[in-house]
């Protein structure tokens, strides 16, 4: 897939929020079907990078190009259309608290009026099943645990079957079993649906899992990658820019002091 088209590109992107420079000259590229894991300590600008990718924030300098479209400069109205092809899971879930889980997941489909009600319900059920949460359809977000809210947020992002997924700490605050299940789903999206993603995580074991496993569609199970490309690369943010960008092997071999420090903790 080394020659697959580039679907997410940051070209020398800088952004200042309030008075703090958050990113300075960040460049990155993600090809179709690839997952780029963003690592970095709290406040490094990972969430800001995801919001730049979907056009919720605009850079002060540089360009963001997603699916061939100039996200950083296009008008908001055009962005609304493009965002149908991009799903995002916010760090704090950001579910609509006055809508039920069903209505949250169906939000975009309901807004579009393009599918009939039964088809929407079937899609919602399938998305919730993927995160093992079919039974909470009629509850309100406030009635769910934090981990359940996170999974509903993932289901909501998947509802339009986007080509690009942006995950902000999808496993944050989850127990190890649920977290592993979620990571399995993400690997399946990558290997079966060839979804391109940017994934922020604080858990190095998630990053390791993404790099070490692939989804075997034939047997419908997770398999060790065993030298095959797992279509996953890493980017470490520090000091407002990328101090590392490369494969898992390169990450472990890196002599960059911050990367070594980061991996040791």
């Amino acid at each position: 897939m080394a020659d697959a088209p580039i679907e997410i590109e940051f070209d020398n992107v800088s952004i200042t929020l309030g008075a703090t420079p958050v990113l300075r000259g960040l460049s990155l590229r993600v090809r179709r079907g690839e997952t780029k894991v963003l690592l970095g300590e709290s406040g490094a600008g990972k969430s800001v990078a995801l919001k730049l990718a979907i056009g919720l924030l605009r850079p002060d300098q540089g360009r963001v190009i997603v699916l061939g479209e100039p996200v950083s400069t296009m008008p908001e109205a055009a962005l609304y259309r493009l965002r149908r092809r991009i799903g995002i899971v916010f760090q704090e879930s950001a579910l609509f608290d006055s809508l039920t889980v069903r209505d949250n997941v169906a939000y975009r489909l309901d807004e579009e009026h393009a599918m009939d009600l039964e088809a929407i319900d079937a899609r919602v059920r399938a998305c919730l099943a993927a995160v093992e949460l079919e039974e909470v359809m009629d509850k309100f977000p406030a009635e769910l645990s934090g981990g359940m809210q996170r999974r509903v947020a993932i289901a909501r992002a998947l509802a339009t079957e986007p080509e690009i997924m942006l995950f902000d700490s999808p496993t944050g605050g989850l127990d190890p079993i649920t977290a592993t299940n979620i990571m399995e789903q993400i690997i399946r999206l990558r290997d079966v649906n060839h979804v391109t993603s940017l994934l922020v995580t604080h858990r190095l074991q998630d990053a390791a899992m993404l790099a070490a496993y692939r989804w075997d569609a034939e047997h419908n199970a997770l398999r060790p990658a065993d030298g095959m490309s797992a279509h996953t690369s890493f980017l470490v943010l520090h000091d407002q820019h990328a101090v590392f960008d490369g494969s898992a092997a390169e990450l472990h071999a890196s002599t960059q002091p911050y990367v070594q420090h980061f991996l040791q903790i």
Binding site: A77, Y80, F90, E92, A94, D97, R108, E111
Partner: protein, 280 residues
């Protein structure tokens, strides 16, 4: 949330006395902030109005807002209107009696209610109740990233949240004002016949005689303008809420205070302009 943390430290390390230069810069900075706020407010208001005609039209959301605004505000508007009418009859009749003109109570009650008190008091009541409600609801949605999520899911928050609130507030302030006017007239009427022992028919006759086209124009235009003020101010402060729950609280207070002050200011300006236009 980060903002509120920042502010906490600012408060904790109580600011040292400032030099003169700093105060000047502080003032210019403040002025700049106010102007930027005004610009943002105008932009938001413009976009809210533009979306009135844009597709899709959120009819359901508009109805929902009209319901919570109109039905919810009805009791306080009924009460306010009624007792204002009664107290106007009480106060005005005392003055009129000095000139032997007590039979003109109906006329003065009608004029003061329809021109001024009906629209202004309804506006203030709607501002107190609904500007607060709207600003805190939108503010909470902003600080919990629900507004960002909405944009990420392809919905324009102005279209989905602000425009329905604008339409609902205009139409409901208008209707509630008419209801308040009627209640005020009835309140004045009851006081006139029960306490002042005036002739009821004469009360209504002088009241209706007194109300001309100018008074009607004033009385019906004002609530439309007040509705616009309430909705746009509430949406502006709600949408620009920053810094967690405290930020939402602050936005709510600012929305109510600004809307109320603007209503009273605009009332004066509108009265002046309309009287200049139509004659008193």
């Amino acid at each position: 949330m980060l903002d509120s943390g920042q502010e906490e430290t600012d408060l904790a390390t109580a600011a040292p006395p400032r030099g003169e230069e700093e105060i000047q810069w502080g003032f210019i900075g403040w002025l700049k902030g106010q102007l930027e706020g005004l610009q943002a407010y105008s932009l938001l208001t413009g976009r809210t109005f533009r979306n009135v005609l844009a597709r899709p039209f959120y009819g359901g959301d508009t109805m929902l807002q009209m319901d919570s605004l109109g039905v919810g505000s009805l009791p306080i508007v009924l009460m306010t209107g009624f007792f204002t009418g009664a107290v106007m009859a009480l106060q005005l009749s005392a003055t009129l009696a000095q000139y032997g003109q007590i039979q003109r109570t109906g006329q003065l009650v009608a004029l003061s209610i329809v021109r001024e008190l009906g629209p202004v008091l309804t506006g203030l009541m709607v501002a107190a109740r609904n500007a607060a409600g709207m600003a805190s609801e939108l503010g909470s949605m902003v600080v919990t990233e629900q507004v960002d999520a909405m944009r990420a899911l392809g919905t324009d928050p102005i279209k989905k949240l602000a425009t329905p609130r604008l339409l609902a507030t205009i139409s409901m302030t208008f209707s509630l004002t008419i209801i308040a006017d009627l209640c005020g007239l009835i309140g004045g009427y009851l006081y006139a016949i029960l306490a002042l022992r005036l002739d009821g028919r004469q009360y209504w006759y002088t009241a209706m005689q007194a109300l001309g086209a100018t008074d009607m124009a004033q009385g019906l235009l004002k609530p439309v303008v007040f509705g616009i003020i309430i909705a746009t101010v509430a949406c502006y402060f709600g949408m620009s809420a920053r810094g967690g729950t405290r930020g939402v609280g602050r936005a709510t207070t600012q929305a109510v205070v600004s809307a109320s002050v603007l209503i009273i200011l605009t009332d004066f300006l509108l009265s002046r302009v309309l009287i200049g236009f139509f004659g008193a």
